[in-house]
């Protein structure tokens, strides 16, 4: 019997069996208690509540929403707001992070020190503190609508938010947008074609200048083709408040700004470590075979730096989505605020609501990690 137990394989099975029994017993214990508690307290179960009327207002909604809509609609509004604020923060933190990361390695001493200071300061302050600071201190101290900060009479900033002109969705706007998309798709294929041609013939095609040129020229053509008529709705002061235009609420601005500033420090570090990781010998080798410094950057340094910098950057994108849940501290109506917050308080079905909320984030992070794996696989150095 003892000899039997000394067999490593047998012990492995035994150990796993004990673990399973333990886990199942634990889950069963929890399940029994939970059903008992739910019965005892008369908590309703099931997802029927998603169809009942919400009855509370949401000021900042990308889709039409009224208090008479259902909790299902509330969930959708929250989800969309989460995605919107994450998307905005991803764009801006990437731009800021790229700048700071490159400046961190610049030849300019002052800029190097400034970007290092920026990183060290903002990385070491809790993100929630930053959100509350922007919201409660900076945005609160802005003037009231009457004394708004006025930029060219079209953009207004006050303690109720940021107002910008909003174009009506007419032929011109659509045609400009379409031409943008068209150019991006075209440049993508142009780039593939030029890379292929370079591999085969060694001839270079100036993709970047051509692409940038097209990006400016084609939308202008699109503007005229579409009727050359932008129909803006301008914000204007009416009574005590602004009417027209697009309003960005202080909650949105505080959240997007804080997340952008915080996350950009991490992206900057990723960019810096990516560039620094490229061996000096690579640059020297590129110079010795006669590549110009632009060619060396484009063909030798960047492809290697990007390979190192992209995975941590994408992880930061995931962190942005997760950190957007902190909006609940200042009341920006994203998923956690309106669904795991207000809806939970009204309906009381904690298990269903928290599960749905967690599931949303899980799906997002599974998608992101699948994307990461795909990129890692694609970028892996092909070794023989």
């Amino acid at each position: 019997m003892l000899a039997f137990l000394r067999d490593r394989r047998v012990r492995g099975y035994l150990f796993q069996l004990i673990t399973i029994i333990g886990v199942v017993a634990f889950l069963w214990y929890i399940g029994v208690n939970t059903t008992h508690n739910i019965e005892q307290r008369g908590i309703k179960t099931g997802f029927g509540f998603l169809n009942s009327t919400a009855g509370f207002g949401i000021n900042d909604s990308p889709i039409s929403y009224t208090p008479s809509n259902s909790y299902g609609r509330v969930f959708l509004v929250g989800l969309l707001n989460t995605l919107i604020v994450s998307f905005v923060a991803i764009i801006f933190s990437t731009i800021l992070g790229l700048f700071v990361g490159v400046l961190r390695l610049s030849k300019n001493w002052l800029m190097r020190k400034l970007s290092a200071a920026y990183i060290e300061i903002f990385r070491n302050i809790p993100i929630l503190l930053q959100i509350l600071f922007w919201y409660n201190v900076v945005l609160r101290s802005l003037p009231s609508p009457r004394g708004s900060i006025d930029i060219f009479g079209t953009i207004f900033i006050n303690n109720r938010g940021l107002y910008i002109p909003q174009p009506a969705l007419d032929a011109t706007v659509i045609s400009v947008l379409l031409s943008f998309i068209l150019v991006i798709v075209f440049v993508f294929f142009l780039n593939r074609w030029s890379n292929k041609r370079q591999e085969q013939t060694g001839q270079e095609f100036p993709v970047l200048p051509v692409g940038l040129g097209l990006l400016i020229v084609v939308p202008i053509i699109g503007y005229f083709v579409g009727g050359a008529n932008f129909d803006f709705s301008y914000p204007h002061l009416q009574g005590f408040n602004f009417q027209g235009g697009k309003q960005f609420y202080p909650e949105f601005i505080a959240l997007a700004m804080a997340i952008t500033i915080y996350t950009a420090t991490f992206i900057a570090e990723a960019v810096r470590s990516g560039i620094e990781a490229v061996n000096k010998g690579q640059k020297e080798a590129a110079a010795s075979i006669g590549l110009s410094s632009y060619q060396a950057l484009k063909l030798v340094v960047l492809p290697q730096a990007v390979r190192i910098a992209i995975p941590p950057t994408i992880n930061q994108y995931l962190n942005i989505v997760k950190n957007s849940s902190l909006a609940t501290a200042i009341g920006y109506p994203e998923l956690v605020t309106v669904f795991a917050g207000t809806t939970l308080n009204q309906v009381g079905q904690a298990i269903e609501i928290i599960s749905i909320t967690m599931l949303v984030y899980l799906v997002v992070s599974l998608v992101v990690s699948a994307l990461l794996n795909w990129i890692n696989h694609k970028m892996k150095i092909k070794e023989r």
Binding site: Q40, N108, R123, L129, K322, L326
Partner: protein, 361 residues
């Protein structure tokens, strides 16, 4: 007969020392560089002088009432008056010596750690410290009156949450790291599921889960108070992150170490605890410190479920009717505190990284 050509004289090397030369090299080497320097100076001028004016020159330090604060400067009197709130929350004034004693014991503990190198002794000292700290802070033994957890607050609560989170999540995290790198399929898949699930959701949803769902899991007799629920949530969260870091450490250990341990006949646990884990942890230390910094920052989230940590104290103290409108000072003060803690930890982690790097070479 060789013909020798005299090489023409080279110019003397320029004087590469001095402030002017340094500035020309580092600040004004090209038009772009000059523009960047100007931009940098503009940013500094924009931020630094107003901040110094507000926080020092126009600021008020003396006195103990709102009346002392006139003008535009910062009112540090507010911080001075509310200091005990920021440090202890609502902890009764007569009992605060107990918290201070715990802090002093901590310094003593660090000193003893420097002297005593034996790991088992250290372990018992640490365990003893936590028991003593718990008894002192909570009370209920040796005639100390009980101070309920809802009175705990401020920096003290922040440190307690962070410390408990770190200490409790550490062994759990290591177990999950073992589980994830185990060859047993069921153990492995349970660990993977746990780690990926926790890492995929924001901490705030886990805190919500532990504060609203956890009580449903247990029979009616068992109740958890708010702080304990938050601690459970934070520990579960942190454990998943520690597991991933330790796993990274485990993977960096050459397989020869595993094989050697097997060859001398060590059991699985002997092998892992005596041979593999010490090496893995050494590799993982910089990342572990990084995750402790993240945890320390994340403790601020407990304010969302209604605990009064350091950050929550800003909102609480500035809603005092006698001191309305001093949020800015509160936020700046708390920011500086958090920053000092986190920055010193990150400097420490960098020094560790350096030390361990040279060791490996």
């Amino acid at each position: 007969m060789a013909v020798y050509n005299k090489i023409s004289q080279r110019e003397a090397p320029s004087n590469s020392k001095g402030a002017i030369h340094w500035m020309r090299d580092n600040l004004f080497s090209s038009p772009l560089n000059t523009a960047l320097t100007m931009l940098g100076i503009a940013i500094l001028v924009w931020i630094i002088p107003p901040f110094i004016k507000w926080s020092l020159i126009d600021a008020h330090f003396a006195g103990d009432s709102r009346a002392q604060c006139t003008g535009d400067g910062a009112c540090w009197v507010f911080i001075k008056v509310k200091m005990s709130m920021f440090m202890y929350g609502f902890y009764p004034e007569v009992d605060r010596w107990r918290v201070n004693l715990v802090a002093i014991f901590f310094v003593v503990l660090i000193g003893l750690f420097k002297l005593i190198k034996k790991d088992t002794v250290r372990f018992f000292m640490l365990t003893g410290y936590f028991i003593v700290a718990f008894i002192l802070i909570r009370g209920g033994f040796f005639g100390l009156n009980v101070v309920d957890t809802n009175k705990w607050g401020g920096l003290m609560l922040t440190i307690i949450v962070a410390a408990v989170g770190i200490v409790c999540s550490f062994p759990i995290g290591i177990l999950f790291a073992f589980g994830r790198s185990s060859k047993l399929p069921i153990i492995k898949s349970i660990s993977v599921t746990y780690i990926e699930f926790i890492r995929g959701v924001p901490l705030i949803t886990i805190l919500f889960m532990s504060s609203v769902i956890l009580p449903l899991f247990f029979p009616e007799g068992i109740t958890f108070n708010k702080l304990l629920r938050a601690l459970i949530g934070i520990t579960l969260f942190q454990a998943a992150y520690i597991a991933e870091i330790v796993r990274g450490g485990l993977q960096s250990i050459p397989s020869g170490q595993y094989e050697a341990a097997d060859a001398i006949g060590l059991s699985y646990w002997q092998k892992m605890i005596l041979v593999i884990l010490p090496q893995a942890l050494k590799v993982a230390i910089p990342n572990l410190v990084g995750s402790f910094i993240a945890l320390f920052q994340d403790t601020t989230l407990v304010l969302i479920i209604g605990l009064f940590d350091l950050l929550a104290m800003v909102q609480l103290t500035s809603s005092d009717s006698k001191w309305l409108g001093f949020e800015t000072e509160g936020y700046v003060f708390v920011t500086i505190l958090f920053w000092v803690f986190c920055y010193s930890m990150s400097v420490y982690s960098r020094s560790l990284e350096k030390r361990f790097n040279t060791n490996n070479k």
